[in-house]
Symmetry: C2
Subunit: 323 residues, 2 copies
Amino acid sequence: MRIGHAQRIGDGALTGTTVVVPGPDGAVAGVDVRGGGPGTRETDALDPRTLVDRVHAVVLSGGSAYGLASASGVMDALGDARIGFRVGADPSEVVPIVPAAVVFDLGRGGDFRARPDAALGAAALAAAVEGPSAQGVVGAGTGALVGGLKGGVGTASETTASGTVTALCVVNAAGSAVDPRTGELWAVRHLTDEDATPPALPADRTALLTRIAAAGAPPTLNTTIGTVWTDAALTVAQCAKLAAVAHSGLARAIRPTHGMTDGDTFFGLSTTERPAPDLAGLQALLTAGADVVTRAVGNAVLAAETVSVAGGTYRSYRDVVAG
Amino acid sequence: MRIGHAQRIGDGALTGTTVVVPGPDGAVAGVDVRGGGPGTRETDALDPRTLVDRVHAVVLSGGSAYGLASASGVMDALGDARIGFRVGADPSEVVPIVPAAVVFDLGRGGDFRARPDAALGAAALAAAVEGPSAQGVVGAGTGALVGGLKGGVGTASETTASGTVTALCVVNAAGSAVDPRTGELWAVRHLTDEDATPPALPADRTALLTRIAAAGAPPTLNTTIGTVWTDAALTVAQCAKLAAVAHSGLARAIRPTHGMTDGDTFFGLSTTERPAPDLAGLQALLTAGADVVTRAVGNAVLAAETVSVAGGTYRSYRDVVAG
């Protein structure tokens, strides 16, 4: 799986687009939309009752519904590369299946009209590389906020006996990633040695909690979106189940979540490189699918850095903890 | 309700976009996706459990999933006009809610890459006018085929005690609008004095049936899409119900329908200009909602004219009946 990020920061902009790109044959995919304010594209094609079972990229983008335009740039570039669902006799006759979901970040850079377009989607695709993804203020996480602190992109991975499971989340929630009683991340009990190390909390916990509360005015519209993928062979319905448990992982990392102003959406993908799991193997994959999302949310918050642009200064959790 | 069409015919193109535009406050909307190969945008926002209940335009487009780009042009133009869901303090801070669905017509004009883009969507919006819509080879129906004959755009309207119900369909199906045993339109028993008059069938019915069968090689991918709207006040869930019965009307007019290669999708809209109906009134609206779709399909086929472009000659039902 290749990941590509493109972003615009400054001149009124604080937004970006992230593309998750399987091999040219695509990946089996399902989706679960559980937020009250979703902005999506091509999710109906992921219903298990439909003809198409593979996607050729998943686009995660800022820009609210305007940002769905970024998927058009990805589609055009994939189509030019003859990657897509074959619809005619000639190999060039393909329709790339490119589902997309967006987060609300309009105006955070200062200019309400600075939002991802088709060109930014194409740039994210062109930047896609294998290996660990960049995290923090990058791609679709560029303009993200979580509970009034700086959000961003986070990832995490776990290997089970049946296959690996990896999550990439764009953390942008009305709810908070921080327990207001302790100042700890909600995700902290799920983090592993592979994850970022949370900062040591100051002895004066009351002062910390006051700083967090002061920074924590939730913006009006939000949304956490992400993609969870495995190399185990799953059906479309099982990919939708993987996307569903991703929301369980989200619920452990952010509170509240899945509200009316969150458009929380997850895509579940299978590259089918490994055999289909048996029931116990599938259960282990699903448990891991939730856990990697919780950890990815924690990693996003821990990787995010304070950003100052014309639209405002958005402080990171680390900086608020440091004082 | 205003309707706008834009199309490209010639130079390899045979495609277009149609926009259904309520007043600036939008219309309550629901959706029902029942085909096996849908291409859609912003349908998740129409779930009755979500925050947004009004749409500011519905885009129907050729170009398969590539054609979803046309909705971006409509969104940008509506946003510039400050029409949309208000997300900030300034009146310019709006996100237009513009669901879209597409039909497959790629390559029918001769050039597989000639497909609707954002500019064509904006052109369709700019062309939107009140009053009866153009029918036949126009807008999203420009490249449409039905059972191998020329398809297109069709409309029909009915007034009930609780309100009027109007359908606009883009008829582009793998199935046929013609009964292969008689040569009649399947819709013929539902047409009224307000609809187009079907042609008199020739005495030599066997020759007619042979001509229809010869013309009737179904293309590989299709989809009938449409919008049904009423002035009676409906909830989002009731609008989704109106969209659901639209598929019943489609089933009466085309056989087979809702197959794996059809992406059949209907939007149901309420302008809320008249009071909410009681149960009997709602039942009457739903009965009418199915009937206007059946009639609209018939009108689309009867309005379609034979088209000859680089991609081929697509004969109309009327011309095939005439010999």
